[in-house]
Amino acid sequence: MTLGGWITFLLSVSVFTSFFAFCIVKVLTSKPQKMMGKNMFKEDFFEPEKSGK
């Protein structure tokens, strides 16, 4: 494998491994932010259609 091949390989593997590790750590250490979307589901998504609006 050439130097360019090693760079391509190591860059690809390290980028996707770091990306995966970052996401997993973030999921395991995050707490749900319940207040952030409090207005989103205030109304039933299906209601306007049911009443013919």
């Binding site: 050439t2 391509t8 990306f19 970052f22 749900p32 952030m36 989103m40 589901f41």
Partner: protein
């Protein structure tokens, strides 16, 4: 319809969606594509496709699924609830056919993986050439005659097909949290562990193990990852045609000497193709987007169906990114290390190059031989095919889920009754792929029309409708609600312009060049099979797909739920 079953943890749904995405393509197709199109060039196209197509699509489906899940879990109702147009019902009928048909032949392929794993464990495999490996494969799956694999024997796929079918339906019967989630929580870490064992095994292969001095793991890695492609070309009818890939100084020097000595009527040359030149080839972009798109399980309704079981307050942005990252980790970091380097080390570049374009050739003709040549190869062969089986089953259970949700909602029946109907329909459909095994024409036709063509059409329609008719800005707002990571407001530009434009361009490029054979391409043999009448099974498969679209369409149009909700 009330929601009775939910994911019990965010990690559970992430692993289930990742399990759905991680399949045979990660370990067999991806390394073949990297090798075929050149490491760096393919990876540039692949990473851009991931950012502009794969990830946006996955995030959109997660967002839509969570939003709709309070009431429905199937794709037709998702489309209809968002768009309220009769055309949505027609598209929905096609969208339901996609996972149903894909699952029918995927379980057949899954049975091959289990069968090979068991045969390796039992020490029942013994070949010394790819020809013998291909003969075993042909007999095992019934390539020579329709129905010839219908026999209870370790060397026939029938018994494995029944076992695989039973396991799939048992897991679905147990439900979302007790079946799919529990299974994926065990299967996904186990899959990564098995892959890591194989990575270590492959990385420690030496010339003493392979008995070859002309090829090595280093050469296999170079074959995949070197950014500059070096090829030996021959002049045929005035045109230069690639006849061999060259990797390593010794190989290149030998070819240069050969080219210098070549006769004028059989002129040869060694050509270096730079990274930039490779990127100018449209095929590389079509291949990268295609690989990414099919690998991430988007456009099949799986993610919508799975995420419809999320709670309204569950995160979707970070979870969708995490499941996508898990798929990419398995594909690039594990898949990129195992199959092609090992195959090149044992068989040389010439023994592998032709198989890179075909998932089946690489997986079931080349690799079994590689494992048999390896020290303690039967053990590692068992590990590898178990890995493929786990990757396949976590995908197939996810493909069943949208069909189950559809039957439950369209017929308005209890889950277990819908599951029984699905089991009967799926068995008949899977048996069709299994029985008409001659030349694998049925499987190939179903995959071409549904797994490649329809899926692209529906996915493109889906992204256009959600980002334009529903609104990309609203999608951003929906995605950010309760999410642990926030999308920037202008992320809507990617959903609205980039993803649909790339999908349309790639689909047109593929369809015109590889299917219709214009712009220097070749008319696809699937089109020839359909129009020439030489392959009745190909025509029957096409007719079956059309019939299923009609059947599911009638069920949707006649559904009481649709009428009540839609008018």
């Amino acid at each position: 319809m009330s929601k009775k079953d939910n994911w019990s943890s965010s990690m559970g749904v992430i692993l289930a969606v990742a399990g759905s995405a991680v399949g045979l393509g990660n370990f067999l197709k991806f390394p073949g594509q990297v090798a075929l199109y050149g490491g760096a060039a393919f990876m540039i196209a692949y990473v851009l496709s991931f950012i502009l197509v794969g990830l946006p699509f996955a995030m959109m489906e997660w967002t839509v699924g969570r939003k709709i899940g309070d009431k429905y879990h199937s794709v037709p109702w998702t489309y209809y609830s968002f768009f309220r147009k009769p055309s949505a019902k027609i598209v929905a009928a096609i969208a339901v056919v996609i996972p149903f048909v894909i699952c029918s032949y995927y379980t057949y392929i899954e049975a091959w993986c289990l069968g090979y794993a068991v045969n390796f464990a039992a020490g029942a495999l013994d070949f010394s050439s790819t020809k013998e490996a291909a003969e075993f494969f042909g007999n095992f799956v019934g390539v020579n005659e329709n129905g010839s694999a219908l026999e209870f024997s370790l060397s026939k796929v029938w018994i494995f097909f029944l076992v695989v079918f039973g396991i799939n339906f048992l897991l679905i019967y147990l439900g979302i949290s007790k079946g799919i989630e529990k299974f994926c929580k065990i299967a996904m870490p186990l899959l990564i562990l098995l892959a890591l064992i194989l990575v270590v095994r492959v990385a420690t292969i030496t010339p003493e193990h392979t008995g070859r001095t002309d090829s090595s793991i280093n050469q296999g890695m170079g074959f995949m990852w070197n950014p500059t492609k070096v090829v030996l070309e021959e002049k045929q009818n005035g045109k230069w045609v690639e006849i061999k890939r060259l990797v390593g100084d010794a190989d290149i020097q030998k070819a240069k000497t050969e080219a210098a000595k070549s006769a004028p009527q059989k002129e040869m040359r060694v050509k270096e193709i730079s990274l930039f030149k490779q990127l100018l080839n449209p095929s590389i972009w079509i291949a990268a987007v295609g690989q990414l798109f099919f690998s991430m399980s988007v456009g099949m309704g799986i993610i919508i169906s799975y995420t419809s079981y999320l709670k309204k307050t569950d995160d979707v942005v970070l979870s969708s990114i995490t499941s996508a990252s898990a798929n990419e980790f398995c594909e690039v970091c594990l898949g990129g290390m195992i199959t092609v380097p090992a195959a090149v080390a044992f068989l040389g570049i010439s023994g592998v190059a032709g198989a890179c374009a075909s998932l089946f050739d690489l997986g079931f003709n080349v690799l079994p031989l590689v494992f048999l040549k390896m020290p303690v190869g039967e053990f590692f062969g068992f590990i590898f095919f178990m890995l493929l089986f786990l990757a396949a089953i976590t995908s197939s259970i996810s493909i069943l889920q949208p069909s189950l949700a559809f039957l439950q909602e369209v017929l308005g029946v209890a889950r277990n009754f819908a599951l029984f109907i699905l089991a009967v329909l799926m068995f008949l459909m899977s048996f069709y792929s299994f029985y008409f095994s001659k030349g694998l024409v049925a499987l190939d036709s179903l995959d071409f029309w549904v797994g490649q063509t329809l899926i692209f059409i529906i996915a493109t329609w889906e992204i256009i409708m959600f980002s334009w008719t529903y609104g990309a800005e609203k999608l951003v707002k929906d995605a950010n609600a309760y999410s642990l990571m926030k999308l920037p407001k202008n992320y809507s530009i990617i959903w609205r312009y980039f993803t649909p434009a790339i999908l349309i361009l790639v689909f047109l490029g593929w369809f015109l060049k590889d299917v219709l054979g214009v712009f220097g391409g070749k008319l696809s043999y699937q089109i020839e099979n359909l129009t020439s009448g030489k392959e009745p099974v190909a025509q029957a498969s096409f007719a079956l797909i059309v019939a299923l679209i009609f059947l599911f369409g009638i069920m949707i149009f006649k559904s009481k739920e649709f009428k009540e909700d839609g008018k």
